[in-house]
Amino acid sequence: CREGCSLSPIRPPSDQSSYQVLVDVSFRSLLSSHADPGVLDQPELKRVDQIRLKQSHTAATTFILEAVKHNADESTISSCLEELSFSADRIEVFYSTHQKHRRELQLLLASIGRCPPQINDASWRLQYHVKNDQVNKVNEPFYLIALNTENKGSSEDINFTCTVEQLQDLVGKLKDAAKSVEKASQM
């Protein structure tokens, strides 16, 4: 977090209302604005020198990300901002906005990066295999399973067949995994 402080020469605008707006806008640009360049077009910010505004905005967003990334607590954030000569009011404004959006930012950061496809759901069909052209009579039940997976927004179905015994094996293994999760959570 010390690095975060040194990287961001935040020089906040002089009056309180534009400060509050800048703080809100900084959080919003990370969460919902989707890199909209018009995010700084707020009436309260028109009076501020535009270059200084942009620098402050960049510094603020960098600081916010570092704080969330390292799960910084109140004292760390406060002392960082104190070093940058923020008044107690302004530190309070920043910290309360931070608390409001912290969880959402954590989820956003956690979703970045590569990971294997995530299983969301499973669907199944039970069918009775009567016969086919290779073997005259089969007379066996079997399952068609589809695992719905998602990876970075795109979903894919993994389809496979299995016999009754194989499905029992699969369910047994999943239950073993669930038991181990339960044991781990009790440690």
């Binding site: 969330v68 990334k69 390292h70 799960n71 954590q106 950061l109 956690a110 970045i112 990066g113 990971c115 294997p116 496809p117 995530q118 299983i119 969301n120 759901d121 499973a122 669907s123 199944w124 039970l126 009775y128 009567v130 086919n132 052209d133 290779q134 073997v135 005259n136 009579k137 089969v138 007379n139 039940p141 399952y143 068609l144 399973i145 695992l147 997976t149 993994i158 389809n159 496979f160 067949t161 299995c162 009754v164 194989q166 499905l167 029992q168 094996d169 699969l170 369910v171 293994k173 999943l174 239950k175 073993d176 995994a177 669930a178 181990s180 999760v181 781990a184 959570s185």
Partner: protein
């Protein structure tokens, strides 16, 4: 009630004897098999073994060449003989024809009694195996082979530190067209419980009256 079912079963077995299953062998097929009486019984047995391997693993030209050299005959003759034998075995196994019907079917080839018996023995020894191999063939969809899993806790990643995220990483092994495909997947504990309950419901479906009725009546 008893009498009726007895009468019915007598009729059924009588009908079965009426409706015999005889194999119809094409001219080409008969020609390919005509090679067999020219060699001894041991060689026919050997061809039977090669034919079974063919079914399991596909043919290899080296085997045919080796056999052709030993018997001093052209390679095509060996190849046709083995293929003809294989086709005879698979068709017989597919329809599960009885001993009687098998012998009557090969009668048309005009072989001697000993050769017919050798062929019959080959059929009887291998037909179950052949059926189980044939049964696996038509599957175009991947089939379940195995599931490996591990429980991990994610502690940090490049964009965020100080995490405590439990995750289930799994490797699903599927067979499809001979080779194994491996898929690495992940899920979280609550989705895992949902998957288990969904698939348990699938297993319960087999035990319903509806399913049992179908299994009993389609034979």
């Amino acid at each position: 009630m008893c009498l009726v079912s007895e009468l019915l079963s007598c009729c059924c077995s009588g009908l079965y004897r009426l409706f015999r299953m005889l194999l119809v062998l094409s001219e080409d097929h008969k020609e390919h098999l005509s090679f067999l009486p020219k060699v001894d019984a041991a060689v026919v047995g050997e061809f039977g073994r090669i034919a079974l391997e063919f079914l399991r693993r596909g043919s290899s030209p080296k085997i045919y060449e080796g056999a052709a050299r030993k018997l001093c005959v052209p390679v095509e003759m060996v190849q046709h003989g083995v293929e003809g034998l294989m086709y005879l075995m698979t068709e017989s196994s597919k329809h599960m024809i009885s001993e009687e019907d098998f012998l009557d079917s090969v009668l048309v080839l005009g072989f001697g009694e000993d050769l017919n018996q050798t062929l019959l023995q080959l059929y009887l020894q291998h037909h179950n195996q052949i059926r189980s191999i044939l049964r696996q063939l038509p599957s175009s969809l991947p089939a379940y082979h195995n599931l490996e899993w591990r429980l991990d806790v994610q502690l940090a990643s490049r964009p965020i530190r100080q995490q405590v995220v439990p995750m289930l990483t799994m490797r699903l092994l599927l067979t499809g067209g001979g080779d194994l495909s491996r898929k690495v997947l992940q899920t979280d504990p609550s989705t895992l419980l949902h998957l288990i309950s969904t698939l348990e419901a699938a297993l319960a479906a087999i035990k319903t009256n509806h399913a049992r009725r179908i299994f009993r009546n389609i034979k």
